[in-house]
Symmetry: C2
Subunit: 257 residues, 2 copies
DNA sequence: GTCTATACAACGATAGAC
DNA sequence: GTCTATCGTTGTATAGAC
């Protein structure tokens, strides 16, 4: 549950990191039980899931500021007074969401750094890993992107730094490939920001990809192949892992052969 | 003022489309004078600019919902009662902003469609044109992106359709180039969405590009060159126009030679 | 632990003086 | 055309019963 698999596939990723189900919400509870009045995990975890899920439903469709705690009370089935046993304040709720997501991302990202992969495998792991994480945590990512402005300055700053650190990791892999003579890249900073942009699209523009029937696997593969084209990578691509995932997940893949 | 120049450069773009200054605000006034009580243009235009600019200052830093009309009154120097001579309601203000931006984009976009350019020149015009428009209207773009959720369903739908139409234009140019044997592209839909993503980054992540000292011209050039790499374009790039713009605007350009 | 009832501040919006 | 003063509503948050 706390280490990256050597081969990056949807299944192995999901085995390595529990980003859904009861064990995930238990870890959310552990991360913030100090800030709640409720101390009984068995009661708290279920309600915590209700509250967070309802918040995503409401805030991600009408905006967090536009969502009232009366809305949240209705959606969760928990009374207004009851909510305050879990959240401290409305703004605190948003802060907690951002905190849990950033914490989770940093765990995953830190686990990845432990390996000493070849540049190209490193890039593959970063791209696919981030997309797999978004697959499970898409509402979290979307919420934090859209509501960042409303969070305390300190959290805005840390989110910003996380993004820069992420691009730093990308740039290191790119630079390593350039030095090994595998890649060509004049402007690694811009290329890294391009990858970030494409990854963020996956949660920002779900409507578009749903409309066009683009699956997770196909999208990650496209982002990865695009990146290699921009790096003028000439070698052969090993697509066995990705292909296996795609077929086992029942996702059709257009034009990969 | 209503036609595209044949050559796309910052200067020629700005000559062709007035997206700032008094004449721009006059056209904003013309677009929405029906909805305001104030009928005297000379008075209205100045206050309209104050109100819109203040809205961008406040809403783009703390969110539109979090901005109160009392904030707006303080920022503009216009009393609360006075504001209502210009805006109808708070929600109406956001709707008007979206309407003006979409209207403006459609004018520019329609002007571009009139020309029958070679595929590669068409792509260049689309990319540079969109970036040039964002350069002047960045706060408008950012506002509409972030506050879309709070707008009426109809406007959400139209924004969505505009984005799809934009990508349709891109895909047409790509397809034309493929048929002419100039480009190679397996998944034009995904490539078009990648371009959109990169363009939108320019207003979404201004902090990042400011931090890294990336100028408008250099960014547009990068997006364009990246696109050509993904299309496996082999021909020579004419960079004279872009290079001229950059030097005349005093922007240093890294690694274009 | 969870509820109902309520306090009180802040908001959008309008009326009417100037 | 612009202001001040004010209305009614809705929001967050809490106190106290169960």
């Amino acid at each position: 549950m706390a280490a990256w698999p050597i081969e990056i596939s949807v299944d192995s990723f999901n085995e390595a990191w529990a980003l859904e189900g009861e064990s995930f919400w238990r870890s959310v509870f552990e991360m913030h039980k100090d800030k709640m009045e409720i101390k009984n995990p068995n009661i708290a975890i279920g309600n915590l899931e209700k509250i967070f899920s309802a918040t995503f439903n409401l805030a991600n469709s009408k905006g967090f500021q536009a969502m009232s705690l009366r809305d949240l009370s209705r959606e969760t089935g928990i009374s207004m007074g009851g909510l305050y046993a879990y959240i401290g304040s409305k703004n605190d709720l948003a802060s907690v969401i951002e905190g849990v997501l950033r914490n989770t991302i940093e765990q995953i990202s830190g686990g990845l750094a432990a390996y000493d992969l070849e540049p190209i495998e490193s890039l593959r792991a970063i791209v696919f890993g981030e997309i797999y994480a978004m697959e499970k945590l898409s509402p979290w990512y979307y919420f934090c992107f859209m509501e960042l402005k409303g969070l305390p300055r300190e959290q805005q700053q840390q989110t910003l730094e996380l993004e820069l650190r992420f691009e730093g990791i990308l740039m290191n892999a790119i630079q390593a490939g350039v030095e090994a003579g595998q890649f060509v890249c004049d402007q690694p900073e811009l290329l890294a920001s391009q990858v970030t942009a494409q990854l963020q699209q996956w949660h920002l523009k779900q409507w578009k990809f749903k409309l066009r029937d683009i699956g997770t696997q196909a999208y990650a593969q496209f982002v990865f192949e695009t990146l290699l084209k921009c790096l003028e990578y000439q070698g052969e691509l090993d697509k066995s892992v990705a292909a296996k995932d795609a077929s086992s997940a029942g996702v059709e893949r257009s034009a990969v052969a």
